[in-house]
């Protein structure tokens, strides 16, 4: 069972992702956050296996939050999600120290596999 945190500022999308993850047998959602700042606090408190986090969020965006989480030396591994396309975003995600990237267009198809791969210590980057 992977303990997963979810950080996404768009309320309906966050609700939908949580509903979707609730259908997976090997995932337990342990917290939800609305911005990068909340995500960092929640990661320190709950220490999830995987954090699924939006790139563009208010207060502190997902890239900056991923960089700070990487410096905390916690076991939590980060998957960033975004609607942006293109190779630049994948490079930015890698540079931020995240372990994976999934386009928001592919969440249903790829997020379960991404969580499993990253939860087991791997990396998951889709071609964009």
């Amino acid at each position: 069972m992977f303990r997963v945190g979810l950080a996404e500022d768009h309320t309906e999308l966050r609700t939908t992702i949580r509903l979707f993850l609730g259908l997976l047998k090997n995932v337990e959602v342990v917290f939800e956050a609305k911005n990068g700042r909340e995500a960092i606090d929640a990661v320190q408190q709950h220490r999830p296996d995987v954090l699924v986090m939006d790139v563009r969020m208010p207060e502190l965006d997902g890239l900056a939050a991923a960089r700070q989480i990487a410096n905390l030396s916690l076991p939590t591994r980060v998957i960033l999600i975004t609607s942006f396309k293109g190779p630049d975003i994948v490079q930015a995600v890698i540079d931020a120290g995240a372990h994976g990237f999934v386009s928001k267009d592919d969440l249903i198809e790829l997020l379960p596999l991404a969580i499993e791969t990253i939860g087991q210590g791997g990396r998951f980057f889709t071609k964009e």
Binding site: E12, T15, T16, L19, F20, G22
Partner: protein
């Protein structure tokens, strides 16, 4: 399909999901498929025009309708369905539980109202209730109406 399968399929509650958010439509579809055998999603509509077409063609028992169905809200969409003599039960799903919208939707002929946060645990029960012609208000919708009266 054998006779038994045919009877069982006939008895399923036929649901149309009408919501402009594609991912939520898909997730609700998956949730219903995964959690119950007696409810069947017969179609998905992304706006009012789509929903009108699907209701005519698919004759669902229950319409699961977002509070905003482009280009209008659920109260006006429900009113239109009732004027067109659509008899399917209508269950409104929403990210907000605004007392005015709940009241307007029920007055227009909707049979139930629930917050989308409650879908994971209460949707199947809600569909059964409205299909049985009972009014359904989820705990959050009830709370909103109660506090409105305070």
């Amino acid at each position: 399909m054998d006779v038994e399968e045919s009877i069982s399929s006939y008895q399923k509650i036929r649901v149309l999901i009408a919501d402009d958010f594609a991912m939520l439509r898909r997730v609700i579809h998956m949730l219903i498929e995964k959690t119950t055998d007696d409810i069947e999603v017969v179609g998905e509509a992304l706006d009012l025009q789509d929903a009108l077409k699907d209701v005519q063609a698919l004759q669902p028992d229950v319409i699961l309708m977002n509070d905003y169905l482009p280009p209008t809200n659920s109260a006006l969409a429900t009113k239109l369905f009732r004027e067109l003599e659509v008899t399917a039960a209508i269950l409104i799903i929403s990210m907000e539980v605004e007392p005015d919208l709940i009241q307007q939707s029920l007055t227009s002929g909707a049979n139930g109202f629930m917050h989308k946060d409650e879908i994971g645990t209460l949707l199947v029960e809600a569909i059964h209730k409205v299909h049985n012609k009972e009014k359904y208000l989820s705990p959050k919708a009830k709370d909103a109406l109660t506090h409105e009266k305070d």
